[in-house]
Symmetry: C3
């Protein structure tokens, strides 16, 4: 019996040591881990073009030497900086009641194809969600889906991190586009 | 005695297994956790207006079509991009010896109310603090307090994450404002 | 024997409790921990100056009132916003086959010395690397080396965090510079 106890003891110690050993390597290595929270939204961007100041939700605020502030520049809009305050909706209808605002900027950053860099927040202030989710990353917008980083959050999304998958749900010329955003949070405090 | 040993063994194993089980869910879920480090600062922003080049610590560098670079635009400054290099002080006195610099940009991003998006760093190079803290997030600046994310750090703040609470401590017209920043770091390496 | 077993048991329990105790403090506090992944790259920036539109990989898109869009402004380029899509190479040769693109922006943000704030991504789409690494932070570019934050990643770099050390490997006037980037990832999923 004492022999059995000893071998069980060794097993217990082995497990404990195994854990201590593994804790020396990075603590989160499980790439197949599922999101601790998942959120699906649409947001809608209407770019100011000199004639739609009432409806516009975004505006060109930086342009390269060959551009201007009322029309996206040539060369795949390279160098255009756009500031936005876009309504977030639960469905794909621009006229649905917004559940929050997508606020920040995007910069077109490639000459031979449409690609952008995004820095923005989802800002919520309702009974359902209160707080913000902060995003940053590259958006190669001709790809069907593209991933950016959730770099932090506040309020209900305190300290969160994750990945958001963007896809262009619709667009109309250079004035309107609608993105579908699949937010997968892998750190939830 | 051996029986008791065995039951203790089972308890030990149970605890070990309990841990392994819980480690499958996200590792940091304790929302009430207290900051591992907390820092309180003020920083001071003096916006260039065409007449104060000597004292100005920030400048408008992007504006919408309806704005210019020496005066913040109409519509709640929507679209103005401002670059800054602001002194950080321990108290609310602009003339106190700076302990570091707040460097980066803010973008006014809403037409009907004052709101901004911030990307900046606190840069320290003293005996007290050496390194940088990097911030990103939405700043609905009419709110008494608002939270942004600490997305990373270097040097003394290596790999840190957290939340910073901003509040406007004072402002004078469109030229000067002073922010109080309460930095709460929840990841300290 | 049973007494020995009991003392071993206590040791095992002690270890388990020790772990539970330590897990109440932030989980990653080992500042000496080595990177879980390390990557070394160069990237090359050729700034548009009005005469090099074919070769340029970046362009001034924001400037203070005293600047313009084809020449970096006085006062240490304070206020210039530059958008870039720079080739990433394995060696220091601009003409080597790019292994990815560095895409984003930098903002000169100090009047009396060259300093910038960076927001950008490394975007990879090859057999070797697929995905993106997102960076943010202050770049006091007169320092031999300077650290910025890796704030997230996607694809092969899913959820990563770390620190990247930049150094200026070469520059030619205001048109060309080459950075060496030593990326140290401390969180690898």
């Amino acid at each position: 019996m004492a022999g059995k106890a000893r071998s069980s003891l060794l097993s217990a110690l082995f497990l404990v040591l195994l854990f201590f050993g593994s804790s020396a390597s990075p603590p989160r290595t499980l790439r197949a881990r599922r999101p601790c929270k998942r959120l699906l939204f649409y947001f809608h961007d209407i770019l100011y073009n000199g004639h739609n100041s009432k409806n516009a939700t975004s505006a060109i605020v930086g342009s390269p030497a060959w551009g201007n502030l009322t029309k996206l520049a040539g060369q795949s809009h390279f160098g255009n900086v756009v500031v936005f305050d876009d309504p977030i909706t639960m469905d794909n209808n621009l006229h649905s009641t917004p559940v929050g605002r997508a606020q920040g900027f995007y910069i077109y950053d490639k000459k031979d194809i449409f690609t952008a860099w995004l820095g923005f927040s989802f800002v919520f202030n309702s009974t359902e969600h209160n707080g913000s989710i902060n995003f940053a990353g590259a958006d190669p917008l001709m790809n069907k889906t593209r991933d950016i980083s959730v770099v932090g959050g506040t309020g209900d999304f305190f300290m969160t991190r994750g990945v958001a998958t963007l896809s262009t749900d619709a667009f109309e010329g250079e004035v309107y586009f609608r993105l579908f955003v699949d937010i997968k949070l892998y750190e939830c405090w």
